[in-house]
């Protein structure tokens, strides 16, 4: 047994909803044998005070992420579509509530 590389539990990402009405926000990761244990550990680790009212755990290897090099393909187009922003449209100051 000794000398062997010891067994490692999988990694989980933890998301906490700070209070009702807010989104779940990523707070960090932890190791657990399964989802249920991950949830318990997340409660002990990330919500010891008043940090949240709800927790999500997701296996880290199930997360698919855009890379920093995808930046242009993913995020650049929004820059040249100025007509998507309300400030693109000139409305006289005299028009109320718009």
């Amino acid at each position: 047994m000794s000398g062997e590389v010891k067994h490692e539990w999988p990694l989980f990402e933890v998301f906490v909803r700070a209070k009702r009405g807010l989104n779940h926000v990523h707070v960090g990761s932890l190791r657990a044998a399964d989802h249920e244990m991950a949830l318990h550990h997340a409660r002990d680790l990330y919500t010891r005070r008043n940090e949240g009212v709800s927790i999500w755990v997701v296996r880290s290897d199930d997360v698919v992420a855009s890379g920093p090099d995808d930046k242009d393909a993913f995020f650049a187009p929004s820059g040249d579509k100025v007509y998507r922003h309300p400030t693109h449209y000139a409305i006289p100051d005299s028009v109320p509530h718009i």
Binding site: E8, W9, M37
Partner: protein, 315 residues
Amino acid sequence: MNEQAFTATIDKDQRIEPRDWMPDGYRKTMIRQIAQHAHSEIIGMQPEGAWITRAPSLRRKAILLAKVQDEAGHGLYLYSAAETLGADRGDLTRRLIEGRQKYSSIFNYPTLTFADVGVIGWLVDGAAICNQVPLCRSSFGPYARAMIRICKEESFHQRQGYELLMTMMRGTEAQRAMVQDAVDRWWWPSLMMFGPPDAESPNTAQSMAWKIKRHTNDELRQRFVDMSVPQAEALGVTLPDPDLRWNAEREHHDFGEIDWSELKRVISGDGPMNAERLANRRRADEDGAWVREAAAAHAAKRREATARERQEVPA
């Protein structure tokens, strides 16, 4: 992303995130610093943990238990940050246990009386706060975010320690002597927590350039001394340094020479408690092995059972 983008991000005071390109040296330094910090939090549970069952009241037991649990949490936030850089938690623990990675020298001193618990909260957590507040702006995103979480919790640690000492100082002559004795033993090791003097800290310049570090060791040490002097006065204890006095010209306190040979000795493994701290950590790891294996086996079994159930459901 490349070196240019990395440098530009640092120059703009923005954060580096795990998937960004970074120099190998940056990654290595970051992993080493975060791991050492994590190990310190984990080993740091022992000196105070030793007093949980002996704390003098239920209130003090509950406080101490919560504080030690926080330190475990700090260790885990930090291992989590290290893992974003490709480090492996189990591997880091093995490095600690085998003495291949270090932890803060301060935890190699013994906690002889209950006053030590108060002094650790006041001075050791106080010094940690001095070190950690600037790290909330460290250039590596996950580390900076972990530090913000940690700093929020540290303030409770320092205040419970100081309040404990105030209570003892209002007690008997023997209790006051106990506090003074603990201060005498912890003051100098606390000053050593900031690391070697700037002149002998070869990595500081690079770490400052990468904005991993925001202030030098000596700057932070000075800040800690200046903060502690009025706190010691309010408490009614004497800091054990005959050279400690206000310097109106510098607008800082001057203080005596630190025994750097002691720091070197303790860091290299020859402090009063090094062997015991590591032995305890090693034993905890070994004693927990069967639990980790059993939980993994149970999880695998349940996964199989769920898979089988799904197959049995008629289409």
